[in-house]
């Protein structure tokens, strides 16, 4: 017995390049079908007045479940596509002085590197330089 499941990439060797998220309406439909199936199952087993048709109700419920499952597997792309790692970082450049204990912090600028001399210090006659550059972790970490 061979039943061919429609697999997407069997048509081409390249996975589709634009990973569009699964359309939410399909996901909702899938969930709605599953809920409908559960309601039908409950009806069939709990309500006395529909006892006569319980078998049909069960079959319809099963069909809904299968449909829900089918949508889940075969329609659209998976929706849980996390965004790529964030490129915005909170990087701090610490400026110190060789002559005094001045300490200044500012955001990292292109061209900054540790131990880069930044000319005379504003407070004393020493030379100010970049003492450290580091990442301040974002909240989720």
């Amino acid at each position: 017995m061979t039943i061919r499941f429609p697999t997407r990439a069997s048509t081409s060797d390249q996975p589709k390049s634009n990973g569009k998220p699964r359309p939410p309406k399909y996901a909702m439909l899938s969930v709605a079908f599953a809920i409908g199936a559960i309601v039908l199952f409950l009806l069939a087993s709990l309500i006395d007045s529909v006892q006569d048709y319980s078998m049909y109700i069960l079959i319809i419920g099963a069909a809904l479940l299968v449909a829900s499952w089918g949508i889940y597997f075969f329609v659209g792309k998976p929706s849980s596509k996390k965004a790529l790692p964030d490129e915005r970082e909170n990087v701090i450049t610490v400026i110190g002085c060789k002559g005094c204990d001045k300490r200044e912090e500012r955001a990292f600028e292109t061209g900054d590197f540790m131990f880069k001399e930044l000319g005379p210090c504003a407070k004393c006659s020493g030379v100010s330089f970049i003492k450290a550059i580091y990442l301040i972790p974002t909240k989720k970490e």
Binding site: A9, S17, G19, M55, Y56, F73, L84, F115, I133
Partner: protein, 378 residues
């Protein structure tokens, strides 16, 4: 309508209510067993395949994005209107064949030669696509391209196994792939994030070694030794310390092994101790920035540099100390964390303590800060 149908079916089979329900029970069971017996593996394959497809999509997005980033980084240093797209795409496929190790004699020499040629090709390529960049910028562009190559390679390998699994309908391929995915994705993400750090020329966690070395070297005259390595001779607690690191602030690692060897030879082997500082991989559960002591050549190169240090130290019987700052692969490849910067001070003190405890005044010590010196000057 319902009633109508019910009546028809029962009349059709001419069975009582009990028989109908039994018939449906039997059908139900048959359907159930057919499903379990014939489709369960199919269902498993589909489930695993979906996970892998998700991962491949994500890897492809990363690979595409990192390729775009190369163009962005190279563009300002590029000759007007030059089309670099084709050559960059080509270069991302660049490969290196490891030397044969069936006959291990001289394998490190051969490996070093091949690594040298690779480096030379990489520098040549960067000079072609970014002729206007200076030495340090070129080094950074090299690193950006290397990280993109890593992301691209991971993407291609995972895609290969996905397509192979689909072609052969093999559950084994999907299961193996799916189980390794969390680790693989973590690695790919580390390289991807690393590329952005390189592109912005921020210091990376692996720069800890050079950072500590720079703390000793700052303000002293520097001399070049070996490829892309500089050293200073400084006085530490009355000892003569030769401190070396890769030449910053461009993103290079240099040849610190060659440098240590040359220094030892230059000093006629009269070195009392070699202390190496490097970033080391932490185990899960350990803290980033933990500083630990050990012995041996603390350097994570493919072999040749480590060999040179060990060889030179054995030749002259020089004790070899290692001080390591723990971090994850991701921490090592991406922007230096605050913990690591704080640890660099601890390591600096540890090196001084080691010199104080394990050498006498007037001794000669070599301190080597190993790692990528991106955005760490001296």
């Amino acid at each position: 309508m319902w009633c109508y149908e019910v009546v028809t079916i029962t009349q059709l089979f001419d069975l009582g209510g009990d028989a109908t329900s039994m018939l449906f029970n039997v059908i139900w069971m048959v359907v159930f067993f057919v499903f379990i017996l014939f489709f369960n593996q199919r269902m498993q394959i589909i489930t695993y395949q979906r996970n892998v497809e998700k991962a491949v999509d994500r890897l492809q997005a990363m690979s595409d994005k990192s390729r775009e980033d190369i163009f962005k980084v190279v563009k300002p240093f590029n000759a007007e209107n030059a089309d670099i797209r084709a050559s960059v795409n080509n270069y991302l496929e660049f490969f290196t064949i490891e030397p044969v190790s069936l006959d291990p004699f001289g394998v490190l020499g051969r490996l070093e030669h091949i690594l040298d040629v690779r480096r030379e090709r990489s520098m040549l390529f960067v000079s072609q696509v970014a002729p206007k960049a200076d030495k340090h910028q070129k080094a950074n562009i090299e690193d950006v391209i290397e990280a993109a190559t890593a992301v691209n390679y991971i993407y291609k390998v995972i895609r290969h196994y996905l397509l192979l699994g689909k072609k052969t309908k093999s559950l084994m391929i999907f299961v193996q792939l799916d189980m390794q995915l969390p680790m693989i994705m973590k690695q790919a993400e580390a390289y991807y994030t690393a590329q952005r750090t390189f592109a912005a020329a921020k210091p990376i966690g692996d720069g800890l070694g050079p950072l500590v070395a720079a703390k000793f070297m700052v303000g002293s005259p520097k001399e070049a030794i070996a490829e892309e390595v500089v050293y200073s001779q400084v006085d530490v607690l009355g000892r003569k310390a030769y401190v070396l690191k890769a030449e910053g602030p461009g993103g290079v690692v240099g040849k610190p092994g060659e440098a240590v060897k040359q220094l030892i030879e230059k000093l006629g082997g009269k070195v009392n101790r070699v202390i190496m500082i490097d970033a080391g991989l932490k185990l899960e559960g350990e803290n980033t920035g933990e500083v630990v002591d050990g012995v041996g050549a603390a350097i994570g190169d493919p072999g040749p540099e480590k060999f040179k240090i060990e060889d030179a130290c054995v030749k002259y019987k020089i004790p070899l100390d290692a001080i390591i700052c723990k971090m994850s692969l991701e921490d090592a490849l991406t922007t230096m964390k605050k913990e690591v910067v704080e640890s660099s001070e601890t390591v600096y003190e540890r090196v001084k303590q080691a010199i104080k405890e394990r050498t006498k005044e007037g001794d000669t010590v070599i301190v080597a800060g190993i790692g990528n010196t991106m955005a760490v000057g001296q």
